[in-house]
């Protein structure tokens, strides 16, 4: 069973003819070649597959593609603008907030969504907001610092 589904993806109108029951994660990775969004656990526990849908962080492994019809989806590939890294990406680079890098796209997307909701979060709010994104290498401290730095650099309303 195929359906036509259209949505905004990284600023572009996207029309797909596809099985509507497929997850957003595998449609992104397999059909749209956006492999920055990672499979981690397939059950929404780890956050490696986090994308932003209509300004909310969403675990793309746990929603069917049919749910994004008409919505605005942003993946890690859609953050940098005109060859310039998003401030959160830049802060991750500046703080070396990664090791193996596999959780990084999900971390960044979750952090961006966090800053949309709360542009000037306190440290505890960052910790709370990032708590369910997992990192095995132990880059947590640097990720917190990176988000603090990004928050201090982003002017109001320019997060996305």
């Amino acid at each position: 069973m195929q359906e036509t589904i259209s949505f905004h993806l990284n600023g572009n109108e996207t029309v797909l003819k596809t099985d509507p029951s497929q997850t957003l994660l595998w449609v992104l990775r397999n059909h749209l070649n956006l492999t920055g969004t990672k499979y981690g656990c397939g059950s929404g526990f780890c956050g490696a597959c986090t994308v932003i849908i209509d300004k909310e962080a969403v675990r793309s492994c746990s929603i069917p593609i049919s749910d994004v019809a008409g919505k605005n989806v942003i993946t890690i590939e859609g953050l940098a603008k005109d060859g310039k890294l998003h401030p959160v990406q830049q802060a991750f680079v500046d703080h070396d907030a990664l090791q193996c890098g596999y959780c990084t796209p999900g971390m960044i997307m979750n952090a961006v969504a966090l800053l949309i909701k709360n542009p000037k979060p306190a440290r505890e709010q960052i910790v709370k907001g990032m708590e369910d994104n997992f990192c095995r290498c132990g880059a947590h401290i640097r990720i917190i610092k990176a988000i603090e730095t990004a928050a201090s650099k982003i002017e109001g309303g320019t997060i996305l």
Binding site: Q99, C100, G101, A139
Partner: protein, 722 residues
């Protein structure tokens, strides 16, 4: 600090069509310039000796080589891989320093079996510790050759030349200079690093020892960094394998008829392998649960609670690895004796990236992109499994999303290769998280029986340390004891199966278990002696390196002595790991109502010999301390017989943001020493540091890891009852 933008991994090399390079053809492939062959593994190795060189060619043997191109760019070809620990940075630093070229002009080509000579695998801190020094010698040789060439061109003696950023200059006349690029242009020189090429003294280092940012950050923050599961080829199919419900179960049958009703599903059967294939991952996921499979399970009467008794039953005669004096003699002179048993469960590697591999076939040639720590083992495994020559298999390891010792064996790559051979299609095998837990080569559960005594003055009089099933790494005591014995009980070849699951190396294999048992025994003895735990250690240490490390950690932490339990929650552990000396001091809080333990801050001191990248080292220390919170406080696999009950992160808690303490570190200046490695050491201290911290906070003694809230509460109750 200068930020390097260009990626170190040569994507172009990876995406080239598979092709075959004989060893003797390396030079042809590389074009002109200078090639230095070197052998970090030393001597002739059977694996590489198998490919013969023509008679007039160089050496006997090499494992790696560096190439200085006609453009003056330096590339190192190595079988090592990058999985987060950062050899991609530190090795490039070592190369840049030795050759006096800009860091940006050094590139690492890693983990490609066709471009890189044989290597045994990336583990045990060997990239910097073993590979690094040999690579420096190769660079030293290249430098010698280049200076000789420059000397001839500029007509001045070598001693009058200096090099900066790849430009050789006459020290007496700065206007006279020549670049490496000019020197190498049109040349085809090949040499080996055999002999004793001069390498720089520590005082002359310009790049080694300077903090360097990650070179792969831009790729990783933009989603451009490629991992094995990110590759895609025309016609590629995703595979799911019909799995047994318990470990080692024998395949009987699989009814795939329901699964086949899903449009586009293909079934492949080959011996005991039953795989479903589909062009969409979700569809094959949907199909696999419809398969009705029958397996004959292996019965084993053990579970996560009874594993230690099972160990005592299963253990054969121990192997005494270290003995000095006479334990009985030491026992006689002891004023107080402490006898303890320590327990530890099975722990998973749990990397964020599950095992993944994609295989393609073109003619008879198989190419596999795999998430693996052992590219050449993958090649040999695939060649063996398919009965084809290793030359017909190319393995490429792109970025790996965490390994920690768990990606040394490569079943996913072998199955991908089998399926691509059977179908002629590119096949992607990526484990689900459930498969990742189930097929992980787990860190073994462990048991220790430790008996020790102290004199009235607080000197350890004897030390009898028995370690079961965790190996001997870090088992020998670091303390100065006249009467001591270390006995290792472990699986020997031919022993019946002890573990219900596959077990294997886990970051600093066995050392975390051994260090936990030793340091907790020390904590108890310090309390028995009525002494502060650092003062007790200092009284019983003779090794100057260890003493310096402990004092450095205490100073960094701002430690003041007090008899335990001091109710401050200060915990300490020290140890050695492949000749790196490490001490960690922590401050923690225990919630007496819930048993929850929160580590507030941690100070680490490390003598790792030469530290190539202090920033990279700090990141590894932070990573080790953070990862160590998990095996210490929460990580434990539940199982019943051969059935693994823990299958995802909802029942296996790895460290989270709210757990992480403030971390600071001091790296002792030992730049004149060889490097001993920094990717693993600090992880070994966390169990002992947390257990002694809980004792210091509450007086409760914890003998079992992980120290879950229930176990902490139980221990507190036991203490109050006493």
């Amino acid at each position: 600090m200068k930020r390097i933008m260009n990626p170190r991994i040569d994507e172009k090399a990876y995406t080239k069509k598979p092709f075959l390079i004989e060893r003797r053809d390396f030079l042809k492939y590389l074009g002109g310039g200078i090639v230095i062959l070197f052998a970090p593994l030393g001597g002739c190795h059977s694996k590489i000796a198998a490919t013969s060189l023509p008679l007039n060619a160089l050496p006997d043997d090499f494992n790696s080589f560096l190439h200085i191109s006609e453009e003056g760019l330096v590339t190192c070809y190595t079988g090592k891989i990058e999985m987060g620990q950062g050899p991609i940075i530190a090795l490039a630093q070592m190369m840049a320093d030795e050759l006096d070229v800009a860091f940006e002009n050094v590139k690492m080509v890693m983990g490609d079996t066709e471009l890189c000579p044989w290597d045994d695998g990336t583990w045990g801190s060997t990239s910097i510790r073993e590979f690094g020094p040999e690579m420096r010698k190769a660079a030293g040789k290249a430098r010698e050759i280049l200076l000789q060439m420059a000397s001839e061109k500029l007509k001045v003696p070598v001693s009058q030349l200096q090099v900066t950023n790849g430009i050789v200059t006459d020290m007496k006349d700065n206007s006279r200079s020549i670049s490496y690029a000019t020197l190498t242009k049109g040349k085809k020189i090949q040499k080996s690093s055999i002999g004793k090429p001069k390498v720089k003294d520590a005082k002359d280092f310009k790049v080694i020892g300077k903090p360097h940012h990650r070179v792969d950050a831009i790729q990783k923050v933009t989603g451009a960094a490629k991992y094995a599961g990110d590759y895609k080829f025309p016609g590629m199919l995703f595979a799911r394998i019909v799995r047994p419900s318990s470990y080692g179960a024998k395949f009987i049958s699989a009814d795939t008829s329901e699964a086949e009703k899903i449009e586009g599903i293909r079934v492949v059967r080959d011996k005991d392998l039953v795989a479903l294939l589909h062009e969409n991952r979700d569809k094959v996921d949907e199909a696999i649960v419809k398969v009705k499979a029958e397996f004959l399970p292996v019965k084993l009467d053990v579970n996560d609670k009874s594993v230690t008794e099972h160990y005592l039953r299963s253990a054969k005669k121990g192997n005494i690895t270290n003995t000095k004096g006479d334990i009985e003699e030491g026992r006689k002179i002891a004023a107080k004796i402490t006898e303890s048993v320590y327990y530890d469960g099975y722990v998973a590697h749990s990397p964020m990236e599950p095992h993944a591999a994609v295989a393609t076939i073109e003619g008879d040639k198989i190419t596999v992109w795999a998430s693996a720590q052992t590219p050449f083992l993958v090649r040999d495994q695939v060649s063996h499994e398919l009965g084809i020559s290793p030359d017909m298999v190319r393995v490429i390891i792109p970025f790996v999303g965490g390994g920690f010792g768990g990606k040394g064996d490569n079943p996913q790559a072998i199955i991908a290769a089998r399926l691509t051979k059977l179908t002629g299609k590119p096949i992607m095998v990526t484990w689900t998280r459930e498969e990742e837990f189930f097929f992980d080569t787990l860190r073994s559960a462990a048991l220790h029986t430790v008996k020790s005594g102290i004199s009235k003055e607080g000197k350890i009089t004897f030390w009898d340390f028995n370690a079961y099933y965790c190996g001997d790494r870090g088992a020998e005591t670091i303390y100065d004891v006249n009467h001591q014995k270390t006995t290792i009980y472990d699986q020997e070849e031919g022993d019946p199966q002890v573990h219900p699951f596959a077990t294997g190396p886990w970051r600093a294999p066995g050392n975390s278990n051994n260090t936990f048992a030793r340091e907790m025994q020390i904590c108890q003895m310090a309390a028995a002696a009525g002494m502060d735990q650092i003062e007790f250690r200092l009284k019983n240490l003779a090794d100057e390196r260890m003493i310096k490390v402990l004092k450095a950690a205490a100073e960094k932490f701002g430690y003041t002595p007090a008899k335990g339990p001091s109710h401050r929650g200060f915990g300490i552990a020290l140890g050695t790991d492949v000749d790196t000396y490490v001490a960690v001091i922590i401050e923690l809080r225990v919630d007496a109502k819930t048993g929850h333990v929160q580590v507030v801050r941690a100070s680490c001191a490390q003598d790792m010999g030469m530290c190539v990248n202090p920033l990279g080292t700090l990141m590894q220390i932070e990573g080790c301390i953070t990862m160590g919170l998990g095996y210490s406080l929460s990580e434990e696999l539940k199982f019943e017989g051969t059935n693994m009950l823990t299958r995802n992160w909802d029942s296996y808690e790895i460290p989270k943001f709210s757990w992480v303490p403030d971390i600071d570190a001091v790296i002792l200046d030992r730049m004149d020493q060889p490097p001993h490695g920094g990717g693993e050491p600090a992880v070994i201290c966390m169990g002992g540091a947390i257990a002694s911290g809980i004792f210091d906070a509450t007086g409760a003694l914890l003998y079992q890891m992980p120290m879950t809230p229930e176990r902490v509460l139980q221990a507190i109750k036991k203490t109050s009852a006493q």
